[in-house]
């Protein structure tokens, strides 16, 4: 099929220093067109957007399509290692990747609060363009609304992703089998900690940078190598523990995980100790688990380590016969316990 061409614009950021989004920027008049022309089009420009129509028409490749949508609200909007724009592209690309789809198109809708600096909006849009380019996906439709000051939190972004499934595997929790291996691609906890340490009210200086990145390449490569992937899940809110619990519950099987096998960076571990968090529940934006046939797990591990040497990848456990669809964790002392899902989000402890 024909691949969408992504235009690389050399200077997508016209100087908008000192100006702010006004209600009229979402009102459909001249100001709105100016915002589109000066901020969105220079960054996202591609033949699809240039159709400049109510809807964009695209050629659909043969096979099954994967569709996903997600809304992004994050405080702070800019954090070490990314911003709401990088999240809005990578998060949706990763959701496509988890069904083994090759990402094709993205739509982006912005709800912007009156008074939001156009300079910041431009930065976010540029981040989106960079991430889209890295993931080889075109942003083909968009929308902008402006809400009264105080009725938004700077900017909210919704993205919808469309991808094509070019493999014939069933990648779903129901495909998980007893005896499968659990492979984790990416060290855990960086995104959540990088956000937490920048939230107002909690002053905490670290050099921890979010792991925000798209993960479709490793998945695509594993599929091309013929690795039987039974289930994939990107680790976002709720972290590794929540993802494993969700899959184990759907699969009706027991997952047995070794705590010492799970890659967590020293600085993340230290921050978690201080804040009273368990890294197993902290959010990630560039890590995923693959549940796969045990006989192919070592090969998959080796391939991922070869292709992505900077990314920590490990086999962290196995799937056993069900007795209550639970996740168990063997800790550093060798004792085993249930690794449960949390009731709500983790809160910094008192002392």
């Amino acid at each position: 099929m024909s691949k969408p061409t992504v235009f690389n614009v050399s200077c997508p950021l016209p100087s908008k220093k000192g100006s702010f989004v006004q209600l009229a920027h979402g009102g459909g008049g001249k100001l709105m067109h100016e915002l589109i022309e000066s901020v969105f089009l220079p960054a996202f420009e591609n033949p699809f957007l240039l159709q400049r129509h109510d809807s964009t028409s695209v050629e659909v490749p043969k096979g099954r399509l994967a569709v996903t949508t997600d809304s992004y609200v994050v405080n702070p909007l800019f954090f070490p290692g990314g911003d709401i724009g990088t999240l809005a592209v990578n998060g949706t690309v990763n959701d496509l990747a988890m069904s083994g789809a090759r990402p094709l198109f993205l739509t982006a809708a912005f709800i912007i609060e009156e008074g939001f600096p156009i300079e910041d909006l431009s930065k976010i849009v540029l981040s989106m363009q960079k991430m889209a380019q890295a993931a080889d996906i075109a942003i083909i439709a968009g929308d902008t609304k402006v809400v009264d000051r105080g009725k938004g939190d700077g900017v909210f972004i919704n993205t919808t992703g469309i991808g094509v499934i070019e493999h014939d595997q069933t990648i779903s929790p129901t495909a998980v089998k007893s005896g499968d291996s659990i492979l984790l691609c990416g060290d855990i906890g960086r995104h959540g900690i990088s956000i937490m340490t920048k939230r107002s009210g909690i002053e905490f200086d670290t050099t921890i940078v979010s792991d925000c990145a798209s993960v479709h390449l490793p998945v695509q490569k594993l599929l091309k190598e013929g690795i039987p992937l039974h289930c994939l899940r990107d680790l976002t809110r709720g972290g590794l523990a929540t993802a494993l619990n969700e899959i184990a519950f759907m699969a009706g099987l027991r997952f047995e995980v070794e705590e010492l096998a799970i890659p967590v960076r020293e600085e993340v571990r230290a921050a978690c100790e201080i804040l009273g968090f368990d890294p197993l529940y902290v959010a990630n934006e560039g890590a995923f688990v693959a549940i796969l046939q045990a006989t192919e797990a070592r090969r998959a591990l080796r391939l991922l380590q070869e292709w992505f040497p900077g990314r920590e990848t490990a086999i962290i456990g196995r799937v056993s016969e069900a007795t209550g669809s639970i996740v168990t964790l063997t800790n550093s002392l060798g004792t085993k316990r249930v690794l449960d899902m949390l009731t709500g989000e983790q809160l910094p402890r008192i002392c």
Binding site: I202, F249, E273, S325, S332, R337, L342, G344, I350
Partner: protein, 372 residues
Amino acid sequence: MKFVSEYRDKIPAQKLSQMIFNTVTRPWTLMEVCGGQTHAILRFGIDELLPKSLRLVHGPGCPVCVTPTAWIDKALEIASSNNVIFCSFGDMLRVPGSKADLFSVKARGGDVRIVYSPLDALKLARANPTREVVFFAVGFETTAPATAQAAFQAKAESLRNFSLLVCHVLVPPAMEALLGASDNQVQGFLAAGHVCTVMGYDEYEPIARRFQVPIVVTGFEPIDILEGVYLCVKQLEEGRSEVENQYSRSVRRGGNPSARSLLTKVFGVIPRPWRGLGEIPRSGLGLSHEYRDFDAEFRFGKVQPDAEEESTCISGLVLRGIKKPTECPAFGALCRPEHPLGATMVSSEGACAAYYRYRSLSGAPSGSVIHE
């Protein structure tokens, strides 16, 4: 991670476990005072490394658990007031008062913020001079020095818009109250290492003598706890009742003199009601007269302590070490972290929540629900 990994290592843990097995000749009941220790015991499955005849009961050292409903209600009332920025440790936001919790006040428009330290609340007060900034000061001797520092600085800067809703409590009077009760079962204590980092352990010596009970100042990592248990049972088996310091990498006998002197400057010792335990004389810290202007109770009205609290929950017995969470008929069935009946299930450091979250596979209590 240095100073952590070596205290979570399997080999020394097994060695200590073996030493405990070799020492224990009869049943003993030990209490770890601090919720952080309870949490570590369950998280690392330390109880599985101990002889069955050794019973660990979990003490009242969870700040969230022992803060009476009346203080939560006062916090909710202040947080709902106009022009107030109400600051709290994250853990307190989920704790139900008699009608609501701070999360629901926030949802209804109250300006409730999670801070990591009272000094962050002080910054908010400086940055928002037209707003009243109130910090909910709960916790033991560990968190009290930071509260004292905030009050001290606020006074030095003559900040007019900063106050503290104080519900600080002290560990030794609670230990005395437990030991003095007719139904007491505790024969030895693992004292809270971080409390002793601030206060030292000289004040525990008269308690050990008076009640003939060994007290081992203990840290929070698995190896610390196992070593604390070992030292405690060794004393019991040898018929000794002394104060020993397992957590010597952090604790000195005299504690932290600057923190102690700041506490004396800012606070006075007062009687304090404890959730589940009732009023304990000389067990709380209240702002001294000199700091009255920074007392939220002076600004927003006194807390009116209730006579009785919820009845179905046995958290009082759990906090006193009389019952284990799993001995409660509601545990895991009617009472779960998402529908807590008592504070010990709400707080992440509460004994019931720790039992629920870290339940072992073999010892999963009958009432517990594993994925409905």
